[in-house]
Amino acid sequence: MIRALGVALALAAIAALAMIVAGANPIVGFFALFRGALGGPNQIAETLVQTTSLLFPSLAVAFAFRAGLFNIGAEGQLIIGGLVAGLIGARLNVPGALAIPVILVAGAFGGALWGSTAGVLRARFGGNEVIATLMLNIVAALLANYLVVGPLHSPGATGAETAQLPESSWLPTLLADTRLTIALPIAILLAFALRFVFDRTIFGYELRAAGDAPEAARRAGINLARTAFVAMALSGAMAGLGGATIVTGVLHRFNVALSPGYGFIAIAVALVGDLDPLRIIVAAFAFGILQSGSLTMQAYAHVPKDVVTFVEGLAIVALAARRFVAERAKTSPA
């Protein structure tokens, strides 16, 4: 935790430098950032909305990572999940109480399908999941755009989006007049469930073995191909579920721009959270603050929002480097 604080402080210092370079006063900038994120009930609610949207793909990335798979396709899986949720929600009139569960499950299923595509490539042909998931991000974005503008265009929709979902399929809010919905407790519940799966179940044990020592796992009777497939499918399902909650809880329709890169920021969140589901909740909140405060910062302190993106990018590089250095230290001869 002390180390995490150190990382946070270092990043804050770099952010301050970046603000100075951008010609702004860092004190004013940080003040605006935090006021925008935590300055009142509405701001806090919006920060929690961002936290939620980050939490699903972050758990997805961490889940795959624990199985030894670098899923950088959470973005694509999230988009497909949102797309499926939006199309089903807007087109099929799912009756009343069933609407929300059906749409969420459908979104998760869409994400699972997208994730398992990379899983199949890896399991059957030994294809590299990094390249596969990265490329599938682009395919997902283009496919979504094509479908909502082209063949599945909704009559009422303007731009690259579906029609609005009927109100019966909107996620219930936790706080009136905000976009904060039950998606947050669902995400937190998912984190606890994952922690249980990793620590307590045979499935989680085998998944971690495959990730930490594939050759030993194989010799212990763990089917690596099947593990890779299942891990990618479930990882995709989590990201897809995240996309579905954005559609049903935040936008109430699918829009091709539903994600400002949640699936990519998720990689940093997962690494900051040390791939531990519970610590990822905290990390997602920290990144949620950045996400929701950055607009205020831009508006009031004239600090470009890109400063936040810049710092997030730095965090990814730094954390990836740390893991790489740790690997090297482990494998270098004594």
């Binding site: 307590r200 044990y205 930490d212």
Partner: protein, 473 residues
């Protein structure tokens, strides 16, 4: 902690000096310092000329030819280009001068290890060293090749080269050297004149006490357990070809052979991680191919050759490593979840019975010494009454105490009726433990010896390829 501390060592011209010690005693570190490849934090190295070092794991460029490797770093030049003819000529001359026959145009990766070692030796000799250090030079050689190597070394010493041989094979030390320095835990603990000492005394100095005794073998009535027929697996020079063997319950069958003669492929085929043709049976029922998990459930357990990569999950705790492979065993699960108390209890039993020195059951196995890691692996393999135990170099790289414990547990498993298949590159280990010795050469089984008919010289000859003419014992 320092790998080497306050060591003084003199090697005189014309002398063959042995440096002995257990794994981790600091021998290789000392050699690297002497050859200038490592920098010592204190002390001095004085040499009357170049110090050559022949590594335990060859440092050759596999894709290059012999002559290219030999001249690498000091290539003869004609103007700005490499003078190939001069280089090839130089290698031929060296090769003749030292009696190290080798084809200068052969590519390293196509050469058998014995020849590759000659190339490494030639490369060092090309620098005309005043001191030549050989780090475990016989680890990968067949007995005949070992004799040839020592002939070369003696010739070198006769010309005035100071030779330092690092080894843990004490028989070689006694037969070929004149003085012995013994190291333990980074320090010199004994300086001996070979003429005044013997193998036991050197071993005691290495271990720092009496050698642990092995468990006694008991009379058993062997019953058929495992058999395989016409097994072929693996690729090219490392493959196993049409091998058949049988291991009965209550016996240890030892496979003697130089590393790289198909032992790996054989072990992996039996473990179910390498595709093969042919058939295997356990207790009379055919074993389905390619499913390591099913084999574990049937009672086929393995001590893999690379414990850090193939046997253990290094960052995990002792407990979690002990259940690996048995995570689905009914006694270690509760439905779909792990039975933590049962796992802890099992780990406690194994740690006690195998004397695993660990700070706690929750400590990560990466913090354990190699010997203690190996005890975890062996303990796990024997924990659930296996039918067949496949032990691949079970004592490689571990200290004498741990090695004796592991060997004793293998004998006890045998006494209890387990079929044990032992693969080892240490002929002494094979001979000490086995009820039957099988010799492998180039992927084929070339000889079988019952315990009361073991002929060390004959086994050595077969390991070097003397059985190729079709001679069977």
């Amino acid at each position: 902690m320092r790998a080497v501390q306050g060591v003084d060592l003199d090697v005189f011209p014309g002398e063959i000096h042995a440096l002995c010690g257990e794994n981790g005693a600091g021998k290789t570190t000392l050699a690297s310092i002497a050859a200038g490849k490592l920098k010592a934090s204190g002390g001095t190295v004085i040499a009357r000329g170049v110090v050559g070092l022949v590594h335990q794991h060859f440092e050759l460029v596999d894709r290059l030819r012999v002559w290219e490797n030999v001249v690498l770093g000091h290539e003869p030049q004609r103007g700005a280009t490499l003078d190939r003819e001069a280089a090839r000529e130089r290698v031929n001359r060296l090769s003749k001068e030292y009696g190290l026959a080798v084809d200068p145009d052969a590519v390293i990766e196509t050469l058998p290890v014995g020849i590759a070692q000659r190339v490494e030796l030639l490369r060092e000799l090309a620098r005309d060293p005043a001191v030549l250090i050989l780090d475990e030079p016989t680890a990968v050689l067949a007995p005949v090749e070992i004799d040839a190597l020592f002939a070369t070394v003696r010739a070198l010493a006769a010309r005035g080269t100071a030779v330092l041989i690092i080894t843990h094979k004490l028989q070689e030390v006694v037969s070929h050297t004149s003085r012995i320095t013994v190291m333990r835990a980074g320090k010199v603990v004994a300086r001996l004149a070979t003429a005044d000492t013997n193998v036991d005394a050197i071993a005691r100095a290495m271990v720092g006490g009496e050698l642990p005794e092995l468990a006694a073998r008991r009379e058993t009535i062997p019953a058929p357990v495992f058999s395989m027929h016409e097994i072929s697996a693996g690729e090219s020079s490392l493959a196993v070809r049409s091998a058949a063997l049988e291991v009965r319950g209550g016996e240890i069958v030892g496979i003697a052979g130089v590393e790289g003669n198909g032992q790996s492929a054989l072990a992996d085929a039996i473990a179910g991680v390498l595709p093969y043709t042919g058939s295997m049976e356990l207790d009379g029922t055919p074993i389905p191919p390619g499913n390591p998990g099913a084999r574990i459930a049937q009672g086929i357990r393995a001590i893999p050759q690379d414990r850090r990569r193939e046997a253990l999950v290094l960052p995990w705790s002792v407990i979690d490593n002990i259940t690996l492979g048995d995570q689905r065993r009914p006694s270690l699960r509760k439905g779909g979840t792990l039975d933590r108390p049962a796992a802890r209890e099992l780990a406690r039993t194994i740690v006690e019975r195998f004397d695993v020195r660990t700070p706690s059951l929750n400590a990560s196995v990466s913090a354990l010494s190699g010997g203690n890691q190996q005890k975890v692996v062996v303990g796990r393999a024997l924990a659930h009454n296996p039918r067949l135990l496949l032990a691949y170099q079970p004592t490689r790289g571990i200290d004498v105490g741990a090695a004796a414990l592991v060997q004793s547990r293998l004998i006890e498993a045998r006494n209890a009726g387990v079929a044990v298949l032992l693969i080892s590159f240490e002929l002494d280990e094979v001979l000490a433990l086995s009820d039957r010795v099988i010799v492998m050469y180039r992927g084929a089984i070339v000889g079988t010896f019952e315990r009361d008919a073991i002929d060390r010289a004959r086994i050595g000859a077969l390991m070097a390829g003397a059985g190729l003419a079709g001679v069977a014992s």
